[in-house]
């Protein structure tokens, strides 16, 4: 069993699934489509309620809570798109998510490289340390973490959100990336060494491009997780200027509680980036997780 064969067939399989094979797929049986339709209706309904609700006005919502917009009222959306606080929170969320994703990949990929390609004393311990982190989401540490960040004067700053998110994102990242790095054939590394390429240069020139599928998967998962994260910002950010969108949604609901249409419009606008991001890369995520659940 050579590790060499891993990368190529998987990449090929993904590509063929993405492009070529689609027109050839047969139609499924009507029963399957019926089940799928019911499931999709259930999964999408709450999201549709939020999006469509933003196009209704409050009297429409009160008279028939479950109805469609009639007439459509885009003003609410327009109003929120013109509010500076929405864009401010949007920017905060973007900064936090981007920096978290980039840092998680930078730190996680380097550590995974060491775990995958170096033989040294303490390697098992290092792996065990990160793997243990997998068992403990941020919830467990939130109270002491808040105290720590408070002592470091990082509360009310996006750095106070980014750094813990990076730390808690590392275990998943490493679990997903290590198999990708181990799949890079030893021969490539040896050849590079013969050509006078140092291991560090090899890391930047070869490892980075070869592990791209895994990097993309973890990057997207981290970005979406950060965009959506609530508990950590709830504890760390109390100044409205530093609010990210989830906190903004909660605050908006608190202030404009009676204006249901506006709450729904605000909510639906704040979910769009994560949704687009994920939809664009959905297939890559399944492909990238494959190594981690190799059964």
């Amino acid at each position: 069993m050579t590790t060499a064969s891993l990368e190529a067939p998987r990449a090929k399989k993904n590509r063929s699934a993405q492009g070529g094979s689609k027109p050839k797929d047969p139609w499924g049986s009507p029963a399957v489509y019926f089940i799928a339709l019911v499931v999709v209706a259930l999964t999408v309904a709450p999201v549709a309620y939020i999006v469509l609700g933003g196009f209704r006005d409050n009297s429409q919502i009160t008279v028939d809570p479950a109805g469609f917009p009639s007439p459509w009222r885009p003003e609410t959306y327009a109003h929120i798109l013109q509010s500076s606080s929405f864009w401010h929170q949007f920017l905060n969320s973007t900064i936090a998510a981007l920096f978290t994703a980039v840092l998680v990949i930078a730190l996680g990929l380097s550590a995974s490289y060491v775990l995958a390609r170096y033989k040294f004393r303490g390697r098992g311990l290092m792996f065990g340390l990160f793997a243990a982190g997998l068992m403990f989401p941020i919830t467990v540490a939130i109270t002491p973490l808040f105290i720590l960040l408070n002592n470091l004067h990082l509360t009310n700053s996006l750095i106070g959100v980014i750094l813990p998110q990076v730390a808690f994102g590392l275990p998943t990242t490493i679990i997903i990336l290590v198999p990708f790095l181990q799949a890079i054939p030893e021969e490539i590394e040896e050849a590079a060494a013969v050509d006078g390429c140092s291991r560090l240069r090899f890391y930047f020139k070869m490892v980075l491009p070869l592990s791209l599928p895994g990097v993309l998967t973890t990057g997207i998962l981290t970005f979406v997780a950060s965009w959506n994260s609530y508990l950590l910002p709830l504890f760390v950010l109390s100044d409205t200027n530093s609010f990210t969108l989830p906190l903004g949604v909660q605050q908006f609901r608190g202030v404009h509680g009676s204006d249901t249409a506006a709450v729904l419009a605000f909510t639906s606008l704040s979910m769009i980036p994560a949704l687009l991001f994920f939809t664009a890369f959905e297939r890559r995520i399944v492909g990238g997780l494959q190594g981690a659940v190799k059964g």
Binding site: R121, P144, K294
Partner: protein
């Protein structure tokens, strides 16, 4: 790449602290790595590279994951309002209060109810849907993306939307009335009688997509040839799923169950947002984490909040270790707990 079902997956072996990630040439178990070390001494240059590459990750991880957990144990012994360093040492008093507080007992009970129901409801549903979405048929990719939507939508957004739909005068009851289901009866979805089931419906809606993604990734690893061989032998679709898919998907299912268990024990956002801080206990869906958030820094009880965090940590760890020993050990020998026993 071999597709032998026995090969431990990265995730599983990592859960076991075992470094044999894949059967490749590079997988060295901790035992052999240590055994080889004297012969193949790590050069100073390699040491430098290892430090340079893994140092930052380890530092950040120690500072923001390990240190807070350790600090929680320390703060938990104090009565402390968060001003200045903790000085009022009260030993195990905080823990006595937590463990005798009926409100905390209820929270723990809810956590375990949610845990059991999550596994029972989401497991079979996710397997069926993953099988369905794995069939090659037209429109599959659109269905896939739509099924994952709830998982991508944040808890706050889902919670806000559902919080507006579920009240007695909300969209759900209106929809049921419009469709003449249950006549004019308005159901109290959020009330104490229904809350747990409503929460389970919400959690299933929210997290089923993740289970499906994971299972679909696992399904892709099952070699096509097995099904071809089975259908030549005359096995029906369902026979194939029972005899081939389920056993080979076992490791992935067990990983999903592990993540689901941990998630259920740490559940916070959705009850907190849909029901609100002050309703979760009354409506019977408080969790250890909502209890912790309610009695932690937000109320100024820093020492007490940390003690709750410690209890939550210990309960999670006991469950995680038990699960590893009883369930995951079927997949990989040599868990963290008994690393000495080699296969």
């Amino acid at each position: 790449m071999s597709d032998t079902p026995q090969a431990p997956s990265a995730l599983e072996s990592s859960l076991d602290g075992n470094t044999t990630v894949m059967g490749g040439t590079n997988s060295v178990s901790p035992m052999t790595a240590v055994g080889r070390a004297p012969r193949q001494r790590t050069s100073w240059r390699e040491r430098f590279e290892i430090t340079l590459l893994s140092g930052p990750a380890i530092l950040v991880f120690l500072a923001f994951v390990i240190a807070p957990v350790v600090a929680a144990f320390y703060y938990g012994f104090y009565r402390w309002k968060g001003f200045g360093p903790p000085t009022d040492f009260i030993g195990l008093h905080n823990y006595k209060v937590i463990l005798t507080d009926p409100e905390f007992h209820r929270a723990v009970l809810h956590n375990f109810e949610i845990l059991a129901l999550s596994l029972l409801i989401q497991g079979p549903l996710a397997i069926l849907l993953a099988l369905l979405l794995n069939r090659k048929m037209r429109g599959r990719s659109v269905i896939r993306v739509l099924v994952f939507v709830p998982w991508v939508v944040s808890e706050v957004i889902a919670g806000t939307g559902l919080g507006l739909m579920l009240p007695v005068n909300g969209a759900i009851n209106a929809l049921l009335t419009n469709m003449h289901i249950f006549g004019d009866v308005k159901i109290q979805w959020l009330g104490p009688h229904m809350a747990l089931w409503t929460l389970m419906a919400i959690l299933t809606w929210k997290y089923l997509g993740f289970a499906i993604i994971l299972l679909m990734a696992g399904l892709q690893n099952i070699p096509e040839e097995l099904y071809e061989a089975a259908s030549i032998d005359g096995a029906s679709y369902w026979q194939q799923q029972r005899r081939i898919t389920l056993p080979l998907l076992g490791p992935t299912i067990r990983i999903w169950a592990f993540l689901s268990i941990i998630g259920a024990l740490q559940l916070f956002d959705l009850p907190w947002i849909v029901w609100g801080e002050f309703n979760v206990d009354r409506d019977g869906i408080s969790t250890m984490a909502t209890y912790m958030a309610h009695y932690g820094p937000r109320t100024g009880l820093y020492g007490y909040g940390n003690a709750v965090a410690v209890v939550l940590f210990i309960i999670s760890m006991i469950v995680a270790v038990l699960y590893q020993r009883l369930v995951l050990s079927r997949d990989v020998d040599g868990a963290v707990t008994d690393g000495r026993k080699k296969r």
